[in-house]
């Protein structure tokens, strides 16, 4: 083969534009760092943190099970029930929002943007304000916690779901379009099978976050392990904190293992 003269033109990138961005970023970071005083380690650091850690590492095992209730095991069980239901609610309710906000699913930027805006709004609405709203509606207790979690999680799940939808392979949807399928059919046959692993994986992740949000629920008397945790923390009862943490970590790890297993089965 005669190797003809190889000529190539390196395309001119929009370098000047990029520079503006880099400089702006640098300025923002300089501003941010300027507000961060360098403080040394405190004299009391050793003593207090030693007290904290030695407390946490000698957990209050008695608390695991108390015959008259309100112990670690029952707290964790309550927490799981709240998170399961909250997660179910949000995982279902967020799906329409997610499709609404996904740029490759809705026609026109305006639709997508309103969807994204709504999700941002839900996310910005603090969990505690939602909790107050639901306590007014159904009274304090686990149900209010479930609702607050369920509604609040829509914001995050909706966002993550919509991004998952945005990254699907358009090929199968194209094929369905070509067979004359309507939008719902395209979603069902071409999009859902592709996004399902992502959806499930995000839902499981959110479930895990919800388990940990127990602390927020605890504040409003929703039961679960959050209330005793906050009480233990504010009264600096580190042994109690220690055992509760162990409980939560074990629970989260089990959930993580299970979700890893489930994901492997479905991906």
């Amino acid at each position: 083969m005669n190797n003809a003269q190889v000529t190539y033109i390196k395309p001119r990138k929009k370098n000047n534009r990029l520079w503006v961005i880099y400089i702006a970023l640098a300025l923002i970071y300089i501003w941010a760092f300027s507000g961060m005083p360098i403080t040394g380690v405190k004299e009391t650091a050793g003593q207090i943190s030693k007290a904290i850690f030695s407390g946490i590492f000698s957990p209050d095992w008695d608390y695991v099970y108390l015959p008259d209730g309100e112990d670690l095991l029952r707290g964790l069980l309550d927490t799981i029930a709240i998170s399961v239901l909250g997660t179910f609610i949000s995982a279902f309710l967020c799906i329409p929002f997610a499709f609404w906000a996904a740029s490759n699913m809705s026609k026109g930027k305006a639709t997508t943007n309103t969807g994204k805006f709504l999700l941002s709004l839900i996310r910005t609405f603090p969990e505690i304000v939602m909790a107050i709203m639901f306590i007014k509606a159904v009274g304090p207790g686990s149900f209010a916690g479930v609702l607050a979690l369920g509604l609040h999680s829509i914001g995050m799940l909706g966002k993550l779901f919509s991004e998952e939808i945005e990254s699907v392979d358009p090929g199968p949807a194209e094929a369905l379009t070509a067979t004359g399928a309507n939008r719902l059919q395209i979603l069902w046959f071409a999009v859902l099978p592709q996004v399902m692993p992502g959806f499930i994986s995000y839902t499981l992740y959110r479930f895990e976050i919800n388990v940990r949000s127990a602390a927020i629920l605890g504040m409003i008397g929703a039961g679960g392990i959050g209330t005793p945790l906050i009480f233990a923390l504010t009264s600096r009862d580190w042994e109690r904190v220690g055992i509760i943490l162990i409980g939560i970590i074990m629970m989260v790890s089990v959930i993580d293992l299970l979700s890893g297993y489930i994901r492997k089965k479905i991906v």
Partner: protein, 263 residues
């Protein structure tokens, strides 16, 4: 036409597993509903009470905006640093947690366990420890946000890594790339967009939920939520929400433009 193979319609796999899963889901759902004494009718009856609160939130107290600007700037600043540090530390953790990159379970299980631990530590405890070590102020706040960001970014990123197209990885294996090259040429281009999006999301979460900053005496916007709720001044609460929303949308806008430009 060519004579074809015999037409034997194969039998589908048993759906037992699917049915079992669905059944388990239903049991979980209703079990939890009973355990938490949830009732839809109760919610329906209570909705007017709920709206009562929303009504009190309007109109927002616009003049409160000016008051919270410094706190908001502080929050943004600390959130920015916390997110940045967290996002950087999250990279190796995410890579070591991904089972399609690190094949040996001996490595990614311990790393994931550490990650679980990081994600489980409650804000209050982090605050107590960091305040004890560094005293009050922005530094413990930033550190607490860093820890939180590591958990969020690393978890989401490693799951994104596990879902990438294995084709290019195969190609990189075939050219004899070492692990680092394999990651840079096969993995990173595929997850970069995801990673950036998760980092920006974490930044947003840090701005919204910077209550931990209040716990360590670093001020921030979380304090104002407590204050306005404590005084039942819902019009002010709503103006904080709106302000936060504006900031979040702004960050979102800037980040999408940036992403389009850089990727």
């Amino acid at each position: 036409m060519i004579k074809q193979q015999e037409k034997i319609i194969p039998t589908p796999q048993s759906k037992q597993k699917l049915y079992l899963t669905v059944l388990l889901m239903i049991v979980l759902f209703f079990g939890s509903a009973i355990k938490t004494s949830s009732s839809l009718t109760e919610l329906m009856i209570g909705i007017p009470n709920m709206l009562d609160l929303l009504v009190q939130m309007f109109p927002p107290n616009w003049s409160y905006f000016i008051k919270i600007i410094p706190a908001m700037l502080d929050t943004i600043r600390m959130a920015l640093l916390g997110t940045t540090f967290g996002a950087i530390i999250a990279i190796p953790i995410a890579i070591f947690s991904a089972s399609n990159i690190i094949k040996s379970t001996w490595l990614h299980y311990p790393v994931r366990a550490v990650l679980n631990l990081i994600r489980t530590i409650p804000d209050l405890l982090l605050a107590a420890i960091f305040v004890a070590i560094f005293g009050l102020g922005p530094l413990p706040g930033i550190l607490a946000l860093t820890i939180f960001s590591i958990g969020l970014v690393a978890k989401l990123t490693y799951e994104a890594i596990e879902a990438i197209d294995p084709g290019p990885l195969e190609a990189m294996t075939a050219v004899g790339a070492n692990k680092v090259q394999w990651i840079f040429f096969g993995v990173i281009p595929q997850v970069l967009a995801h990673y950036i999006s998760y980092v920006l999301y974490t930044f947003e979460v840090n701005i919204r939920a910077a209550a931990v900053l209040g716990l360590v005496g670093a001020g921030g916007i979380g304090l104002y939520y407590d204050r306005t709720l404590g005084f039942f001044e819902y019009d002010k609460t709503s103006s904080i929400i709106i302000f936060t929303l504006v900031v979040v949308l702004l960050v979102d806008y800037i980040s999408t433009t940036l992403r389009e430009k850089l990727l």
